[in-house]
Chain length 529, copies 2
């Protein structure tokens, strides 16, 4: 039994979500994601289609042995029997039966044109396929759900037939008939009307399965629930083909926080941020900073004039408490930085300014001055934190001092493009020169610097530059253009962002790089010189 059998959160990340362009899951990945979903406490986890391909077959074999689910029920997905064979003789249906999954979701066509053109059989045979397949699996003791594919297009094309599909499945023993907006073209108003009508006409228990092609996957799911469906399908982070499936994270948060409908185990929603990002690490698809509730920008505030009011009462500018989903409020230090936002930002970074008005004033002045020279700290938390630490202690944290660097990039007809760098640095009281090469000047300086420093700081080995952004800013007051470089660095456990600004792009990059390595060492617990 799921947490709450009267309402189903049904996850299809491992099946429909994996249809996303650029998303490829190994068997190991699928097991890892299934454990995260179970931690979140979704009612059902659709694992894939056993028998359809070797990977899914292997996954179901390993899941049977290795997955110990504490909250969720494991589901196998597959099609109804082929036309004109007996259910018991259908090999794919047999694979579902033998998958070890306590529940099976069968996909069936609910759109007459699809039966004709894609399935190439008769409308009556399609109904028989549904009836036989559901009956067979039910008689084997499995719980059966039916995905009524292309349901809404089918309803427009041939309402009577679409309803007949729902009735047939329900009468054969399917627990839930999920109405699928397979092509994703629905809007909430029409979808809601159709759900109402189907509920009246069939008395079946209904579910909903939406895609985001009109930007309304979440709203369509919410509208269907309001209209009476009690089973909602979606994927973690909205992964899925084309524009993606309905994002279950958002739907769950909307249900629990806005509608006061509890659908997860107690306190599980607070794990949403962690789990959403952990799954993004497994899929290797960058999280959207703008994802509702759990995006890193979801509770980030830039507008300076909000900051003082936020200090009075955060609820004035937040629709929910970020902690309810495990997220945090973040203040972006921007052009309009005032005392209030600097104080809030420091608290967020865990740096104690102790309410010191003079110190805060000094930080505000530094930020304003640097911003007037092209710096922006809203995307460079780590550089901002170094600035804070510098103002608190009177000295910028430092592990090494670069005295000289040079980098050359050359194109010759013989050897193509080569880049080399030489860096002289003082660390641990010793000056030395190191060299490196790379696929660009920044990479070469980074390699040279790390080669030289690793004798003192072996932990630099694991750091990796994961993003690099360049912006040319127009000159002000007659000066030339300046270059702003943002660098993202990772140590495998987290990322941080640093900034460099200079009229010379290489100098700006070296500055951002120096901050990146310094902050990386602080993160590892090193005490500066």
């Amino acid at each position: 039994m799921p947490v709450n059998d009267s309402f189903h959160i049904y996850d299809t990340t491992l099946r429909d979500g994996a249809q996303q362009e650029g998303l490829n899951l190994s068997v190991q990945d699928k097991l890892a994601i299934a454990r995260h979903l179970d931690d979140l406490g979704v009612g059902f986890i659709e694992g894939g289609w056993p028998g359809a391909n070797p990977k899914d077959t292997e996954f179901f074999e390993r899941a049977k042995k290795e997955l110990k689910l504490k909250n969720s029920i494991f589901v196998a997905f597959g099609a109804t029997r082929r036309p004109n064979v007996k259910a018991v003789d259908d090999a794919l249906l047999g694979a579902l039966r033998d998958s070890g999954a306590p529940a099976v979701t069968l996909v069936a066509k609910a759109f007459d044109r699809h039966v004709d053109l894609a399935l190439k059989t008769t409308l009556d045979e399609n109904l028989a396929m549904i009836k036989d397949s559901v009956t067979h699996l039910r008689s084997e003791g499995q719980r059966v759900f039916l995905d009524a594919e292309h349901f809404f297009d089918g309803y427009r094309s041939n309402r009577a037939y679409a309803l007949e599909v729902v009735r047939t499945a329900a009468e054969a023993g399917a627990d839930v008939i999920a109405l699928c907006d397979t092509n994703g073209g629905m809007l909430p108003d029409e979808l809601s009307q159709v759900v109402h009508d189907v509920l009246q006409a069939s008395k079946a228990r209904l579910g909903i399965h939406c895609h985001n092609d009109t930007g309304c996957a979440v709203a369509n799911s919410m509208a269907a629930i309001a209209a009476g469906v009690t089973h909602v399908q979606g994927t973690l982070n909205g992964y899925g083909e084309r524009t993606g499936n309905a994002d279950l994270v958002t739907i769950i948060a909307n249900l629990e926080l806005k509608k006061k409908q509890l659908v997860l185990p107690k306190d599980a929603l607070r794990e949403a941020f962690r789990i959403s990002h952990a799954v993004a690490e497994v899929t290797n698809v960058s999280s959207s900073a703008r994802q509702p509730y759990v995006g890193i920008s979801a509770f980030a505030h830039k507008a300076g004039l909000h900051a003082s009011a936020i200090k009075v009462d955060p609820s004035l500018y937040q629709h929910e408490d970020p902690e309810s989903v495990g997220n945090d409020m973040r203040m972006l230090v921007s052009e309009m930085a005032g005392r209030a936002s600097i104080e809030l930002k420091s608290v967020e970074l865990g740096v104690d300014l102790g309410g010191d008005r003079e110190l805060i004033g000094r930080v505000v002045d530094r930020v304003k001055d640097l911003e007037s020279h092209g710096f922006t700290f809203e995307a460079a938390d780590a550089s901002f934190e170094l600035l804070l630490l510098e103002e608190i202690s009177g000295k910028r944290p430092s592990f090494f001092n670069i005295t000289h660097w040079a980098t050359t990039t050359e194109r010759t007809t013989k050897s193509g493009i080569t880049t080399k760098a030489e860096v002289s640095v003082v660390a641990n009281g010793k000056e030395f020169t190191c060299s490196g090469s790379g696929n660009g000047p920044v990479n070469a300086i980074d390699n040279a610097l790390r080669t030289g420093l690793k004798q003192f700081y072996p932990e630099l080995e694991v750091l990796e530059l994961t993003d690099y952004k360049v912006r040319i800013l127009e000159g002000r007051l007659g000066t030339g253009a300046i270059t702003r470089v943002l660098v993202e660095t990772s140590d495998g456990k987290g990322e941080w962002n640093t900034i460099g600004v200079h009229e010379n792009i290489i100098a700006a990059s070296a500055m951002a790089l120096e901050d990146a390595l310094t902050f990386g060492l602080l993160r590892q617990g090193r005490k500066p010189e």
Copy 2:
């Protein structure tokens, strides 16, 4: 008058969209985006807040002189007068009046707690501020819209007061009162009820302004329109603070394609894909592949079993024809290249392909191949034109041939940062080596090259690199990351854009630079060697 004054598409990319984390627009960027928005044909373009900061002030000054809008009306944004001063004495209100914008949007508090805690004035004074400010600007001949900030939270807290704000603004002469879900916590069902109630209670013309914090910004906007609002605010690509604003691209496509409500000039929707991506190049924020309608995955099909049915009838698996928004079904062609778009683009550039099917096919293949290697010609017209000319004549237009280059950047404690470059080049049948310095490697190569070439091409003297953008693209198929460089060059009469792609940033820049100078000479009427 906008295209259709009975229904407003109102864009706030340049103001509210710019609140997005990591998004920083220069004055030049804002002008470029305004031109794209005008091409798309939105009714209103909100430019920013003149008087609030030097950048917006400069933008309005330049917009007055340089922006020639063919479809859209330009709007200035600002607040109602401060408490307890006369409207005529309020400097910020004066800046709005003097901005040159034919319309002004005033933001006002509609939430009693905000009036108290953030604005720190009385409820009556807030109403007086609204009345006076609207009256003042109307008497000066400007059209006035009112953004009723935090309207829905205000309606829950004090319905009578929220309604009084709407009535006060309407009676003072505001054309539209936009109900703002400022904190973004609404869902369509409740929002729809509130809009119905406000329409009944006030008779004012209403607008809607949504954020995506519940994943429902588009659906909320659609629900408000269904309930009777006739003015919808949003941003290109859903840019905006936290989870973003309502994505106007999606809303427009939903209205035109799903609701058959035409809101853009004829055929403009077909430019949506192009404009969405061109604006993403300006903002330097990566487009979401899963963006409805215009994401590169929005009509991309991965599921193998769809393929044959799609061949029978693409509409079986697509909710709309991708061409209706200028997008493509991805299994057939690449991002941009279709015969028709190549032909149209060529006509636009004034290059005659003479309907030569074989030639057009060759160009399509080249573009597809280059795009698969990270090129994008959307923001590099000049490089695309060079490619066209190359395919027409069998030889890329060329005035010089670079045989070798090298550039070194060095930082010493004595002389600071220096960058030098040496370039060997063949021109007019003569090989020679020239050197230059600059404030970065690209600038140094550019200077060296121009110093060497000016004996033959004195007109190179006037060229200037006016913008330089870098993006790191994730590697495909196991290759490393590659760097895409876009260069904008000006000859004082106009600008052109070129592209270079290479794993080495300097090599990519040199490639874009070579195109930039070559195209500059073509523009001056020089015949290539």
